[in-house]
């Protein structure tokens, strides 16, 4: 109970800080619109409304992913600059429980990204906003947010140990768009890429969102997405103590 409360309170304050950040705010408002516009121009050549919906949903999840992959790194950097990272580590609660709400907060911004992208596509490009299974669609979005938060935790823990790792967050932004099938169907990718796609929760989250919107069977994909998200959290919790011990040994917690 106290763990859930910590996650809830932590999420609330972290989300509040993200909403009050002018830098994150402008990025979060504009990026999804750029992604949507680019994707929809590319796919408009196909002439099929279904292809456009496919692209629109892909662009929406691109925005969600970008929010986590790039912001998780910069959020950790900010904790260093603000001098709050040491205070978080010095708190008696398990550090992963302190960090998970922060990455979940970032992933939550992704819901706005999704909505903004779909509305932009609808009003600017005339793409129909028809969701075949609204409830499953909502569950798929929430499941994807949770899995992204779990993956963000793994990122955040590595950022605590390796100060330069936030650069990797930016590096991972674009390959995941491709590898997880946000814009191009996985079937078109080389065979050796598939195992990488399978272990990445965004692949299954994307698939669940598309299946529920376009009329398919999203549940298996959603369960895989949630399962992988839970595995990321478990791995994050397991490695946190080791990573922190190492950072305390090297004396890097107070460095910016």
């Amino acid at each position: 109970m106290s763990t859930l409360r910590l996650l809830g309170v932590g999420w609330y304050f972290q989300f509040k800080m993200i909403l009050r950040s002018p830098f994150d705010g402008i990025g979060n408002v504009l990026y999804p619109l750029f992604f949507a516009t680019t994707a929809l121009f590319v796919f408009r050549a196909g002439q099929s409304p279904r292809t456009l919906v496919y692209a629109s949903l892909g662009a929406a999840v691109m925005g969600m992913w970008s929010s986590v992959s790039t912001s998780a790194g910069s959020a950790m950097q900010r904790e260093r600059w603000w001098g709050t990272l040491e205070l978080l580590v010095a708190a008696p609660r398990h550090f992963s429980l302190v960090m998970l709400p922060a990455t979940l907060g970032l992933a939550t911004v992704g819901i706005y990204n999704l909505a903004a992208t779909l509305l932009w596509g609808h009003f600017v490009f005339g793409i129909p906003l028809t969701i075949t299974h609204p409830l499953l669609f909502a569950l798929s979005v929430v499941g994807t947010v949770l899995a992204f938060g779990g993956l963000g935790l793994l990122f955040a823990v590595s950022f605590v140990r390796f100060r330069a790792a936030w650069v990797l967050g930016n590096f991972f932004e674009y390959p995941v768009w491709l590898v997880c099938g946000f814009l191009v169907p996985l079937a078109l990718l080389p065979g050796w890429v598939r195992p990488i796609s399978w272990v990445l929760a965004p692949t299954w989250g994307m698939s669940a969102i598309r299946e529920s919107a376009l009329g398919g069977t999203p549940l298996p994909d959603l369960l895989l997405c949630l399962g992988l998200g839970a595995a990321y959290v478990a791995l994050g919790v397991l490695v946190t103590d080791r990573v922190l011990y190492d950072a305390r040994g090297r004396g890097t917690l107070s460095l910016t």
């Binding site: 309170v9 304050f13 603000w82 001098g83 709050t84 040491e86 708190a91 008696p92 609660r93 107070s254």
Partner: protein, 322 residues
């Protein structure tokens, strides 16, 4: 059982030089520091910048692992029982960092209350009580980015006390505060000791240490060079006297010549408005006024005075000893 025990604590850091041909160098920040602090005691750790004060505190509050030696807080090992230690200690550092500026002061405290495991029912009354204690009542719902340095510092103190810790580590808590703010904070610290808290305080301000601390350890270049009550430390240089000579532009070479005079214990230079004051600590039985003036020959000399040593003189003598 002692509240804090440090036994031969050592800490080295690796630093790098060069860009293309990087070389790793080891810096010894703390070299075998030992001390014991009893429950309810206010213990001061004094030393110049880079002496190892903050590194020592960070080992005690579990943020750094000692390279050698050991430390216990309330009987718990700071490496093996880190989480248990964290539940029982509070940490406050000086300066404006360590605050979530986009949150209000109240929200900062609310967030940390959760992180420090303050029971939900107690959070609100505890935060109200602390806001009152540090004088932030009425401003708590404003964003911390608009707070003055003093207000942020007081917010730090409130955060450090949220979970009512038995032991408090205060790392230069009054640094950069205006005189009134610093005086208020000192009075808060004194009231915490009166309430039975054990406090480890680091500061640069000698009068602060003199007024607050039961005992003091002076740390220089990573080692403790003296330990005792403020009176003990003053007595260490108490047999001597202090000569203050107002000068206008004294160079390093002259200071070195004065330092080499027989009977001189320590020399420092203080800036006072347009003038500098050469502060020379001497042994009691020697009269060095004319010898010192002889070395200042050619330079403009102002007022000359002689006085009894203070804690600051004791400190300067200790940290400038080779």
């Amino acid at each position: 059982m002692a509240a804090i025990e440090a036994h031969e604590l050592c800490r080295t850091y690796k630093t790098h030089t060069g860009t293309f041909r990087r070389r790793t160098k080891e810096v010894e920040a703390v070299r075998g520091v030992s001390f014991t602090i009893e429950p309810g005691e206010l213990f001061g750790l004094l030393g110049p910048n880079g002496a190892g004060k903050t590194t020592t505190i960070k080992m005690l509050i579990t943020l750094l692992i000692p390279t050698a030696g050991s430390a216990r807080v309330l009987g718990l090992d700071v490496v093996k029982d880190a989480r248990e230690v964290r539940k029982r200690i509070g940490y406050v550092f000086g300066g404006e960092r360590g605050v979530y500026e986009r949150l209000s002061g109240y929200d900062n405290l609310r967030y940390f209350a959760e992180l420090y495991g303050v029971p939900p029912k107690l959070q609100k009354p505890r935060i109200e009580e602390l806001l009152e204690l540090v004088g932030l009542k009425g401003r708590e719902h404003e964003r911390a980015e608009g707070y003055s340095r003093g207000m942020k510092q007081r917010l730090h103190v409130a955060r450090g006390l949220l979970h009512d810790p038995e032991v408090l580590f205060l790392d230069e808590p009054t640094i950069g505060l205006d005189p009134v703010g610093a005086r208020e904070l000192r009075s808060t610290i004194a009231s915490l000791t009166a309430a039975g808290k054990t406090i480890l305080l680091t500061t640069h301000y000698m009068f602060e240490a003199d007024a607050l601390c039961d005992r003091i350890a002076v740390i220089s270049k990573g080692s403790i060079v003296a330990e005792g009550t403020p009176a003990d430390l003053k007595r260490g240089v108490g047999q001597g006297s202090v000569l203050e000579v107002e000068v206008y532009g004294v160079d390093e070479e002259t200071i070195e010549q004065v330092r080499r005079l027989g009977g001189v214990l320590a020399v420092s230079v203080e800036e006072r408005e347009q003038a500098q004051v050469l502060v020379v600590q001497t042994q009691a039985e020697v009269e060095l006024t004319s010898a010192i003036l002889g070395h200042l020959n050619g330079g403009q000399v102002g007022r000359i005075s002689q006085r009894e040593p203070t804690l600051e003189d004791a400190y300067v003598a200790l940290v400038t000893e080779e």
